[in-house]
């Protein structure tokens, strides 16, 4: 039992060192492109950590988390575009290019949007929950498509990357480090949540909602709070993603994106602290390595996903570390 735990810890440390070390080495070797690739990994991992709170801990298979990813992206894009044009946003609210402010707005907005979506969706479960979260995400997706002020289907470009106090975010490495810092904070948040009383109730809700009710804890409230926190983290990732690409488009809120986030978690190991990170590393590297050879790289990703689902239910981390255990 202890050996299994420490093996997962070892794997986590190796992943963390790789994530920090490879971009530094790439800069030293004069290959900044790899830093951008690593930033993409970090941001996708962050989005998936958000989803992992709902899906991994709570067993809530949200097929609509791209909605929050997209919302976060549009917050960054809209605030920055207005700021660039020297305008205010809706109702005369000030625009900004400051990342911390943008993040705060993205997180709060995603929380506010997730609250009614969660409250309605959580009246269902299983396949119906999957479908209703998808339906909400599609509503947000088509809303973005049909809003010409912010580019509609064509998306919205950010002229320059937003700013972070004391950091030159236009350079790949400093921006990567900012994103990595946010990811580290999210990993800590996930770890704290999982170990807390709230986490115990949430994991019990995944395993057996009747048991949770019978001890007097209302599963609905627990799941709703988890869904909202989950959406907030994924929304924050969306804001970072917009800044990485200096571009947002409705595709960030598409159902393919929702599916991608689920794939990252399943690949890496659902409910595991570093599962989304392992998943994002493998996913982006696959996309990069095979995407250059064939347009059909997702075929091979599909094969690997099939292998993981059939033979390694605990994901890639489960393969390394064995079954997850409590106590």
């Amino acid at each position: 039992m202890m050996a299994g735990l420490s093996r997962e810890k070892t794997a986590n440390i190796v992943l963390a060192l790789l994530l920090l070390g490879v971009p530094l080495a790439a800069v030293a070797a004069g290959e900044p492109f790899y830093v951008t690739l690593a930033t993409r990994i970090v941001i996708l991992a962050l989005a998936a950590i958000g989803l992992n709170i709902a899906l991994g801990l709570g067993g809530l298979v949200s097929f609509g988390h791209a909605a929050f990813f997209g919302l976060g992206g549009y917050v960054a894009g809209i605030l920055a575009t207005h700021a660039f044009n020297g305008e205010t946003v809706l109702f005369g609210l000030p625009s900004t290019t400051s990342m911390p402010v943008i993040w705060l707005v993205a997180v709060v907005l995603c929380g506010l949007v997730a609250l009614p979506i969660g409250a309605i969706s959580l009246r269902t479960s299983g396949v119906y929950f999957i479908m209703i979260t998808l339906a909400f995400a599609q509503m947000i997706y088509y809303f973005a498509v049909s809003w010409p002020d912010y580019g509609g289907e064509d998306g919205l470009s950010l002229y320059v990357r937003n700013t972070f106090p004391g950091v030159n975010t236009a350079q790949p490495l400093p921006y990567f480090l900012v994103c990595l810092g946010v990811l580290a904070a999210a990993v800590c948040l996930f770890w704290l949540l999982r170990g807390s009383r709230f986490g115990a109730a949430l994991e019990a809700a995944r395993q057996n909602t009747t048991r949770l009710s019978a001890v007097g804890i209302a599963p609905f409230n627990i799941k709703l709070v988890a869904f909202v926190i989950s959406a907030m983290v994924t929304g924050l990732a969306g804001a970072l993603f917009a800044d990485l690409n200096r571009f947002v488009s409705p595709s960030m809120a598409s159902w393919q994106m929702s599916g991608e986030l689920i794939v990252l978690i399943i690949l890496g190991g659902k409910g595991r602290l570093f599962g989304p990170i392992a998943g994002a590393i493998v996913y982006v590297l696959f996309e990069f390595a095979l995407g250059g050879i064939t347009e059909r790289w997702q075929f091979f990703l599909g094969l690997m996903l099939l292998g993981v689902v059939l033979f390694a239910r605990g994901g890639l981390l489960g393969l390394v570390a064995g079954r997850a255990r409590h106590d």
């Binding site: 009383r197 395993q207 009747t210 048991r211 009710s213 019978a214 709070v225």
Partner: protein, 249 residues
């Protein structure tokens, strides 16, 4: 009637044409074990579900500690002090035995929206939970996931969880189910002492246990209670003998 902690009045529940609960009235008094017996399909589980809040009666009232429970869901009823165990073990299978009980302790403390402090070293959770495991004799299996416990151990764990809630009344749905003779005997002794803590509404098929434990017995047949009385009265009741006990009694 004043010392009745749980009072059911004319409860009715139909599934289509089937009257699963057909005008049941019964009460549970302080300090007693009230056994609910009846043949398979008599509607015992349906009745338990309505008391615990997982099913809504079509009509009738359920009062607990003088308060009407209509409109309260299962979690709310549990918080008001109704501790139930399940006919088929209902545990968090991935959690250890200890973690299962800790969940109940945390629920009793009313503190599930704490997001940061780790539970693992939280002695306000682990110590009461361990004490409950000791009471049912599971302390050596505390770290074993519930899914890996034997059937009998899971039954014990169900009881430990119900105990940890510190309920005002127990609702035990076939706690003896699937236990061997030794297990049944031990649990019988345990429940015998438990009634002084909180009264027990006991659904049970094990007649030895029922006759050994019950202060009163109600017999449910086709959704109606055909008799309520002491062990001797029930044993002597010709209608009960015909409907259920046969010649065994």
């Amino acid at each position: 009637m004043t010392d009745a902690i749980l009072e059911l009045t004319d409860i009715r529940k139909s599934f289509g044409a089937l009257k699963a609960t057909d005008g049941v009235s019964l009460d549970l008094r302080v300090g007693e074990i009230h056994a609910l017996i009846g043949p398979n399909g008599a509607g015992k589980s349906t009745l338990i579900h309505q008391i615990s809040g997982s099913l809504k009666p079509d009509s009738g009232s359920i009062r607990f500690q003088g308060q009407d429970m209509a409109g309260l869901d299962m979690a709310a009823r549990a918080r008001r002090g109704l501790g139930r165990s399940f006919q088929i073990s209902s545990l968090a299978p991935e959690f250890s035995a200890l973690r299962n009980v800790m969940l109940a302790v945390q629920a009793r403390q009313g503190s599930s929206f704490r997001f940061f402090r780790p539970v693992a070293g939280d002695r306000s959770l682990t110590e009461p939970a361990m004490a409950m495991l000791e009471r049912v004799g599971l302390q050596d299996r505390a770290r074993v996931p519930a899914a890996e416990l034997s059937h009998g151990e899971r039954r014990q764990l169900e009881v430990a969880i119900a105990l940890a809630l510190g309920p005002k009344a127990f609702l035990l749905d076939e706690p003896m189910a699937g236990l061997g003779p030794d297990g049944s005997k031990r649990l019988t002794g345990f429940l015998d002492a438990l009634r002084s803590e909180a009264p027990i509404l006991l659904v049970e098929h094990d007649m030895d246990a029922v006759f050994a434990l019950a202060d009163r017995i109600s017999v449910l047949v086709y959704g109606s209670i055909i008799a309520t009385g002491t062990v001797d009265e029930i044993r002597a009741n010709p209608e009960v003998r015909r409907a259920y006990l046969g010649d065994a009694a």
